[in-house]
C-alpha cells in the first residue's frame, strides 16, 4: 500500500513538471503578453523593450522557464498585477482557497447525499415513475449549463422570492472572527452562530448550482452500477443463504456497486473547479474560480500560472485519494 502511494506521488511529480511547461509555453503564446498587459495604453516600443529586459522576457524561453522553476520551487510565483495588485500570486491563491473548498465540499456533499440514495432507489424500482422521473431530472441536470442553472436559482430564490442572499459570502457589516477562512466553519469554531448561519445562507444557491452536474453523473452511475450488481450471481447466493434484505443490500449490493461510483466522485471533484469558475462568477463569490476568471480577463499572468498549476496538483491528489479508496473497498486491487 505504501509503495503504491509513493509510486503515485512520483507519477504526480512528473505530471506537474510537464504541466508547468505547458502552462508556461501556453501563456507566452497568448496574444498581448504580460508587457502590454502591464503597460496598457502607455506602451511605446522603447518602454516595451525596457520592461521586457527588466522582466527577463528578452532571454530565450528555456532560460525563462528555468528561472520560473527556480523561483517557483522557493514558493515565489511573482506578484499579482490585477486580481490583487502588489500581492504575492501564491498568497492570492491561498486567500481564495478556503472559500472554494467550502463551496466545493458542500456541493459534493449535496451531490453525493442525493445522487447515491436516489440512484439506488431508481435501480430498485426500475421502470417505475420514481425511476423515470429521476432519470429525466438527472438528464436535465447534465444538459443545462452551470451558468444558466446558477442564473435561474439566483433569479427566483434571491431576486423574485427574496428567500436567500443574491451574492457574496457573508453579509457586509457582520462582525465575524476569521480562523480558517471557511466562514461557516469559523462561525462554528468561534461559536458565532449567526455568522455561521449567514455564511451558510450565502452558500446554498452557489452550492446547488455547482452540485447539479456531479449529482446527475453520480446518480446515473449509481443507478447503472446497482442494476448490474443486482443481476450478479453472488447476490443470488446471498438470497439463497436466506440473508435479510437489509444485509443483502448493504453488504452485498451497495459495496460492490460503489466501486464505479467512487471513481466518478473523484473525477467530479476534479471537475468542480471548472464549475466553480462559472458559479463563483454568477454569484460574485470570492473564491479560486472567481480569481481565475478575473486573472484571465485582466491578463494577470502570475496568478494564472499559480491557479492552473494548483488546480492540476489538486486534481492529481484527488485521483490518488480515489485510488486509495478503491483499494480499501476492493481487495482484488489491494493484493495485486
Amino acid at each position: 500500500m505504501i509503495r503504491f502511494v509513493v509510486r503515485r506521488l512520483l507519477q504526480m511529480c512528473v505530471v506537474v513538471i510537464v504541466l508547468s511547461m505547458l502552462v508556461f509555453l501556453w501563456l507566452r503564446s497568448l496574444p498581448g503578453g504580460p508587457v502590454s498587459a502591464i503597460l496598457g495604453e502607455r506602451q511605446t516600443p522603447e518602454r516595451v523593450a525596457a520592461l521586457e529586459k527588466a522582466l527577463g522576457l528578452d532571454q530565450p524561453l528555456p532560460v525563462q522557464y528555468l528561472k520560473f522553476v527556480e523561483r517557483a520551487v522557493h514558493g515565489n510565483f511573482g506578484v499579482s498585477t490585477k486580481v490583487l495588485p502588489g500581492e504575492d500570486a501564491f498568497q492570492v491563491f491561498l486567500d481564495r482557497l478556503p472559500a472554494t473548498i467550502e463551496l466545493s465540499v458542500l456541493a459534493m456533499l449535496l451531490a453525493i447525499a442525493l445522487g447515491i440514495p436516489l440512484g439506488y432507489l431508481a435501480a430498485r424500482r426500475r421502470g417505475s415513475i420514481t425511476d423515470t422521473g429521476a432519470v429525466i431530472f438527472s438528464l436535465v441536470g447534465v444538459a443545462v449549463p452551470v451558468f444558466f442553472t446558477a442564473f435561474l436559482l439566483k433569479y427566483f430564490f434571491a431576486v423574485e422570492w427574496n428567500l436567500l442572499p443574491v451574492s457574496g459570502r457573508q453579509s457586509t457589516g457582520l462582525d465575524a472572527t476569521r480562523v480558517t477562512g471557511m466562514f461557516v466553519l469559523d462561525g462554528i469554531l468561534t461559536r458565532e452562530w449567526d455568522a455561521s448561519w449567514d455564511a451558510l445562507k450565502h452558500l446554498i444557491l452557489p452550492s446547488l448550482a455547482l452540485a447539479t452536474i456531479p449529482f446527475a453523473v453520480i446518480f446515473r452511475i449509481t443507478r447503472a452500477s446497482v442494476l448490474d450488481v443486482l443481476d450478479e450471481d453472488y447476490v443470488r447466493t446471498a438470497e439463497a443463504k436466506g440473508l435479510t434484505t437489509r444485509v443483502i443490500r448493504a453488504r452485498h449490493v451497495l459495496r460492490n456497486a460503489m466501486l464505479p461510483v467512487v471513481t466518478t466522485i473523484g473525477l467530479q471533484i476534479g471537475g468542480l473547479l471548472a464549475g466553480a469558475v462559472l458559479t463563483e462568477t454568477v454569484f460574485s463569490y470570492r473564491g479560486v474560480g472567481d480569481a481565475l476568471a478575473t486573472a484571465f480577463r485582466e491578463k494577470d499572468y502570475p496568478v494564472l500560472q499559480v491557479l492552473i498549476l494548483a488546480a492540476a496538483v489538486i486534481y492529481v491528489l484527488v485521483n490518488l485519494l480515489v485510488d486509495i479508496a478503491y483499494a480499501v473497498i476492493d481487495p482484488r486491487i489491494r493484493t495485486r
Partner: protein, 339 residues
C-alpha cells in the same frame, strides 16, 4: 409393464418424501412476446437422505425448476404454479419472509460458477459466518470457530488462514468447497446442487463429487443434483429424472435407468457419452438437433423432431406419463422393454 417397474425401482423408496414437487409449471412472459413454458408440469419426490438427479440439456428447465423451489426466480415476468411440499408446507405459497427463514437453514443451494457466485469484496470467512449469524443467532465471533470447522470438513487446507482470504485468492476447486461449506453451515435437510462441477476441471470435478457424496451420507442430507452429465448421475444419484422441454420424460433408479433406458432421449444421452471400452474408430452418436425454443408439448411430443423412434402418434398427440412417482416414462414407442 408392471414387471418393468418393479425391477427398476430405486432403493430407499419407502419413507415419506421430504420434498414432493407436483405439477410444477413456470411460465416466462415478456412484453410483446409469446409465453414461454420453461417448466411444464414437473413432478418428483425426494426422500430424506436420498440423492435425486435432474438430468437434461441446457434449456430443458432443470435450473428453473430448482430456482422455483428455492423462490429465487426473478421477481417479474414469470408465473409459477403447482406445489412443492417440503416438510408439510408448500414452499411456493410461503410468504417471502418465511421462505427467507428456510433458505440457507432448511434448504441450501450450490451454484454452477463458484467464482461469480462468491462476493468478490467480502472475505471467505465472513461469507461463511453470515449464514450462521442469520439463522442460528450467533455473533460473528461465535460463528468464526464453526466456520473454521466447516472449511476443514470440506477439505480446505489451513482453514484458519483461508478465513481472511478473498475469493480471487482461491483456486476454482477451493471456491466450490467454500460454497459447499456455506451451504452446509446450518445443517440443511435438503441441498440443491445446480451443476456444481461444470466450471471445474475433471480431476477437481471428481474430488467435489466425492466430497458431496461423503457429506450427504455423513449428515443424512437429501440432495437434488442438477446436471447434464450422466457420468455424475451414475456416480451419485439414487433416482434419476430425465427432463426434456420442461417435462420429465423418464424416471428410474440409477441401475435400472442405465441398464434399460426406455425413452429414446435417455438412450441418446447415454450413447453420446464417450466410452473407453468402445471399439476403435467407432463414432459417437449424439442426439441430433437442439432443444427447440417453442415447445410443441400441447399437441405432440416435443422430442419427436429429433427422435429416431418416431411413430404417427408422436406428432398428433401429447404422450402421457406411463408409470408412477418412482419409475416411468413419457413415450408412445419406448425402447427396450425386454426386462
Amino acid at each position: 409393464m408392471t414387471q418393468t417397474q418393479h425391477t427398476n425401482r430405486p432403493r430407499g423408496g419407502s419413507s415419506e418424501p421430504l420434498l414432493s414437487v407436483r405439477d410444477l409449471r413456470v411460465t416466462f412472459q415478456r412484453q410483446g412476446e409469446e409465453e414461454f413454458h420453461a417448466v411444464d408440469g414437473v413432478s418428483f419426490d425426494v426422500r430424506p437422505g436420498q440423492t435425486v438427479g435432474l438430468v437434461g440439456e441446457s434449456g430443458c428447465g432443470k435450473s428453473v425448476t430448482s430456482l422455483a423451489i428455492m423462490g429465487l426466480l426473478p421477481g417479474r415476468g414469470n408465473r409459477v404454479s403447482g406445489s412443492a411440499i417440503f416438510d408439510g408446507e408448500d414452499l411456493l405459497t410461503l410468504s417471502p419472509a418465511a421462505m427467507r427463514d428456510r433458505r440457507g437453514s432448511e434448504i441450501a443451494m450450490i451454484f454452477q460458477d463458484p467464482l461469480s457466485s462468491l462476493n468478490p469484496v467480502i472475505s471467505i470467512g465472513r461469507q461463511v459466518t453470515e449464514v450462521m449469524e442469520r439463522h442460528q443467532g450467533l455473533s460473528r465471533k461465535q460463528a468464526t470457530p464453526k466456520a473454521v470447522e466447516l472449511l476443514e470438513r470440506v477439505g480446505i487446507p489451513d482453514p484458519k488462514a483461508r478465513l481472511l482470504n478473498y475469493p480471487h485468492q482461491l483456486s476454482g476447486g477451493m471456491r466450490q468447497r467454500a460454497l459447499i461449506a456455506m451451504a452446509l453451515a446450518c445443517n440443511p435437510r435438503l441441498l440443491i446442487a445446480d451443476e456444481p462441477t461444470t466450471a471445474l476441471d475433471v480431476t477437481i470435478q471428481a474430488q467435489i463429487l466425492a466430497l458431496l457424496k461423503e457429506l450427504v451420507v455423513d449428515t443424512g442430507t437429501a440432495l437434488v443434483m442438477i446436471t447434464h452429465d450422466l457420468g455424475v448421475v451414475a456416480g451419485l444419484c439414487d433416482e434419476v429424472n430425465v427432463l426434456y422441454g420442461g417435462k420429465v420424460v423418464e424416471r428410474g433408479g440409477r441401475h435400472g435407468l442405465f441398464r434399460d433406458p426406455r425413452h429414446p432421449y435417455t438412450v441418446g444421452l447415454l450413447n453420446s457419452i464417450p466410452r473407453l471400452d468402445a471399439a476403435r474408430g467407432e463414432k459417437l452418436s449424439p442426439v441430433p438437433g437442439s432443444v427447440a425454443d417453442n415447445l410443441p408439448w400441447t399437441s405432440a411430443c416435443a422430442f419427436a423432431p429429433r427422435c429416431s423412434q418416431v411413430v404417427d402418434a408422436c406428432t398428433r398427440e401429447t404422450p402421457q406419463w406411463e408409470g408412477d412417482q418412482v419409475v416411468g416414462h413419457r413415450c408412445f414407442n419406448p425402447m427396450g422393454g425386454t426386462r
